[in-house]
């Protein structure tokens, strides 16, 4: 109910449309059991911007509510909750992350991302071919270790700082508090099982087979997530070994960097391929259509990063290492630098929303 609407500042078009749709949902509530969005909705009768952003970031686009809805077009109520929440979610990232122009450019334009990747790959080619290759430096023959650190440490930390600033505002506007252990447990548990893509009954979501449930996207996403984390773990373990164990690369097959990296790389590659396959089959009308290309490019980049990492390993000792290394590191650099301005950022907001929801629902 819009009882307070006169007092609040007017909502933007996407927010206003989400508000309209959620008022209808809130008078129906048949979808209560699908995911976390509906219990959050039912706590109130009227929705401020912070509430709408919160629900939008809780939504995993499983589409269960759409295919179950009595009020989807051609019905005059014209509900399409997955699409409008996707749009509000997208706008929330673009408004919380600065500068806004970069957000808009890379979220929407797959081409922009491809161009960025090409440029970074080019730079690394150039660096690798000019910056004093030292054949005695083993793995770092093509690119000196210190140089790599000099490029990648800031390229990793600066985007994280930008995201942290945006998250701080998001957290404040959606009414989040300092998280307790229980909040974190609930949120990470939800991520670990991708609970919100389970459909509430465990048979999954309505992503790529319309009104039939499948777990394909849930599993593909987990492959990407765990693959990514394993790759990250691989790099982290190598860093620790390098600095604290005086054990520089290259590493043998049965060392943590290789084991994590190989398993992670395979998972990430396959997960990304499956995510793309599902995306091509799913109905774009149920998502934020304007970022379809950007999302596609991002997923492709994730997959190419992992795949080039794997190829790099296979190519050990051949002449292909140098170009592959430049390609791989260029991809990694693009991923890192673009982190605040691509789909990558969803992870940070999603996790925040899940933690805040755990707080608001009192762990229910």
């Amino acid at each position: 109910m819009s009882l307070d609407q006169l007092d609040a500042k007017p909502l933007g078009p996407a927010m206003a449309e989400a508000h309209r749709q959620l008022e209808i949902c809130n008078a129906c509530r048949y979808c209560e059991g699908f995911c976390s969005v509906f219990p959050a909705m039912m706590r109130q009768k009227t929705f401020a911007e912070g509430d709408l952003n919160h629900m939008a970031n809780l939504c995993h686009n499983c589409r269960g509510c759409y295919y179950s809805c009595q009020y989807t077009p051609p019905h005059e109520f014209e509900l399409n909750l997955p699409a409008i929440l996707a749009e509000v979610r997208q706008e929330s990232w673009e408004s919380y992350i600065r500068p806004h122009a970069l957000s808009k450019a890379f979220h929407e334009h797959g081409f922009a991302m491809a161009l960025a990747a090409a440029i970074f790959i080019g730079i690394l080619f150039w660096v690798a071919s000019t910056a004093g290759a030292d054949p005695s430096a083993g793995f770092y023959a093509h690119l000196a270790h210190n140089l790599m650190v000099a490029i990648f440490a800031p390229a990793f930390l600066a985007p994280l700082a930008i995201i942290a600033l945006g998250l701080r505002d998001y957290w404040r506007d959606t009414g989040g508090r300092w998280p307790s252990i229980a909040d974190l447990k609930s949120a990470f548990g939800s991520v670990a099982k991708m609970k919100n893509l389970s459909g509430g009954h465990g048979e999954g979501c309505n992503f790529e087979r319309e009104d039939r449930y499948t777990n394909a996207r849930r599993y593909a996403h987990q492959a990407v997530l765990w693959g990514f984390l394993l790759c990250f773990l691989s790099t982290s373990s190598a860093t620790l070994m390098h600095y604290f164990m005086n054990w520089p690369a290259p590493y043998g097959l049965l060392t943590p960097p290789k084991l994590f990296g190989l398993s992670g790389g395979v998972l990430l590659t396959l997960g990304a391929i499956e995510m793309i396959r599902l995306k091509l089959k799913a109905d774009p009308e149920l998502s934020a259509k304007r970022v379809w290309r950007g999302e596609f490019a991002f997923t492709a980049l994730l997959g190419l990063t992992a795949l080039s990492g794997l190829l790099l390993y296979i190519a050990t000792g051949t002449a292909a290492v140098r170009p592959l290394l430049a390609f791989h590191l260029g991809c990694v650099l693009t991923l890192f630098l673009m982190m605040p301005y691509t789909k990558m950022v969803h992870g940070f907001f999603r996790l925040s929303a899940l933690i805040i929801e755990a707080q608001k629902s009192g762990g229910k």
Partner: protein, 468 residues
């Protein structure tokens, strides 16, 4: 398009007319028995499923906790609940059959793809008696269509069945127009009629109810026009039930003419005063808790001038009920509210003032009868009578919303339709088209789905047995 050709070049084993819950239960059951089955659904695909797409639960007998249902709900209690709402207008044999069979239906539904969820918030009073569909009735309908499709059942949408051809006591074929095309004949060895009531044929409603019915809103599908029901009655089949009886509730007067579904309901009446077009109260708003009274308010409002009522509350009560689909009309004085609602301001203010003066102190309790009654007011308000005096004031327009009609075909306990000279040889009926046998008047939440599921399965089984 034309109808699909049946397998093996023979007529269809079972033709199912209609595409809602009862039709799908029949089709699935017959297909599982090995029959070739064709479903003729009158609606286009996005609107498939008849009124089932708007439903939300299934009233189920159970002797102990089962699936999402708590505690026990045994046959006698269930039957007594039915007697209470129908005031005895039921066929005991059929009613007990539905109730007794409902218990085995729940696992069957789960096995055929239906997902349940614990009782929806705001309906906890039903957690013992009613199993709620996760995602509501459309999700159940989707699950059944998918199951049917996997079993090889053929489905045609936008298939208007014009006539069920009977040769003596035998069904031979149906006259069907698909997507508005020319009428074609579809033959089958047996037919299950599950095409619903006639509530969206406003003209028919008007004939039964008088001109007042033109102001009724139809909560469900616009596709239940009762064409097959009328065709069967015209051919001398026995009907049961009273054409003026229907499931009729008071809903938001701003709801769409058709298909507004669940979200147009309003739960504010017990906390309000309800006045008619003239600004007069006309019934005890606090007679009982809303789940027990919502189904009589449709008829109450239907009896008022221009079939409209106005439920008025103040800010004390605005958060006591489920949110409404449209925001209420709001004002800081009663006169202003009345004016915005199109009522006589002085008259409404006087009615509310008289009500306020008749209120007595007490312990207000929103979820159970609290005995806070008016004194010396006619009609009285016997519970939740608190003065309406704290602005802002809110008003909702109420109109009668018809869910489904009760006039139907007479069937026996095998769902076989009663023709002019005894039972027809190969015609069965299930769902709203025969629910009048069991629901003479009144309504029990979730019972329509129970009747449809039980009789749908019986009809499918019997139709298949006839073919074998």
């Amino acid at each position: 398009m034309r109808s699909p050709t049946p397998p093996r070049g023979k007529p269809w084993d079972v033709l199912v007319v209609g595409g809602g819950n009862a039709a799908l239960c029949a089709a699935i059951t017959a297909a599982e028995a090995g029959c070739s089955v064709l479903i003729l659904e009158g609606a286009p695909k996005p609107y498939r499923g008849g009124n089932s797409r708007h439903t939300r639960n299934f009233r189920c007998m159970h002797r102990g906790p089962m699936s999402v249902l708590t505690d026990a709900y045994e046959e006698e209690e269930y039957f007594n609940d039915l007697l209470l709402v129908t005031k005895g207008k039921t066929d005991e044999k059929l009613a007990r059959l539905v109730i007794g069979t409902s218990e085995e239906c729940l696992p069957w539904m789960i096995a055929h793809g239906v997902h349940f969820q614990p009782s929806l918030s705001g309906t906890l009073s039903l957690s013992r008696t009613n199993a709620f569909f996760l995602g509501g009735g459309k999700s159940l309908v989707n699950a059944y269509y998918n199951t049917a499709q996997d079993l090889g059942v053929a489905v045609v949408y936008e298939a208007q069945v014009k006539h069920i051809h009977l040769d003596g006591d035998r069904f031979t074929h149906a006259d069907v127009s698909i997507e508005g095309g020319p009428v074609e004949q579809i033959a089958a060895n047996s037919v299950v009629l599950a095409s619903g009531g006639f509530q969206s044929d406003i003209e028919w409603l008007t004939r039964a109810w008088g001109p007042a019915a033109a102001n009724f809103l139809i909560r469900g599908t616009p596709y239940n026009r009762g064409v097959v029901l009328k065709d069967m009655i015209d051919q001398g089949c026995e009907s049961v039930g009273d054409p003026t009886q229907c499931h009729c509730v008071a809903i938001d007067g701003r709801a769409p003419k058709y298909d507004g579904g669940i979200c147009t309901r309003l739960d504010c009446v017990p906390f309000s005063v309800v006045v008619n077009k003239n600004g007069d109260r006309f019934y005890d708003e606090g007679e009982d808790t809303w789940p027990k009274r919502y189904a009589i308010w449709g008829r109450l409002v239907a009896a008022q001038p221009e079939q409209v009522g106005f439920s008025i509350i103040d800010s004390k009560s605005i958060d006591l009920f489920m949110p409404s689909v449209f925001p209420p009309t709001q004002a800081d004085t009663m006169e202003e509210l009345a004016e915005k609602l199109g009522l006589d301001p002085a008259k409404v203010a006087r009615t509310v003032a008289e009500f306020n003066n008749a209120c007595r102190p007490g312990n207000f309790h929103p979820t159970e009868r609290d005995g806070m009654a008016t004194e010396g007011l006619e009609p009285p308000k016997t519970n939740w009578a608190r003065p309406i005096d704290r602005p802002p004031f809110y008003g909702y327009q109420l109109r009668p919303g018809v869910t489904f009609t009760y006039l139907g075909l007479k069937v026996d306990e095998t769902a076989r339709v009663e023709g002019p000279d005894g039972r027809l040889a190969n015609v069965w009926a299930a769902g709203e088209i025969m629910a009048g046998s069991i629901l003479g008047q009144g309504y029990l939440a979730g019972f329509g789905m129970t009747i449809g599921t039980v009789f749908g399965r019986i009809a499918g089984r019997e139709a298949a047995a006839h073919v074998a």
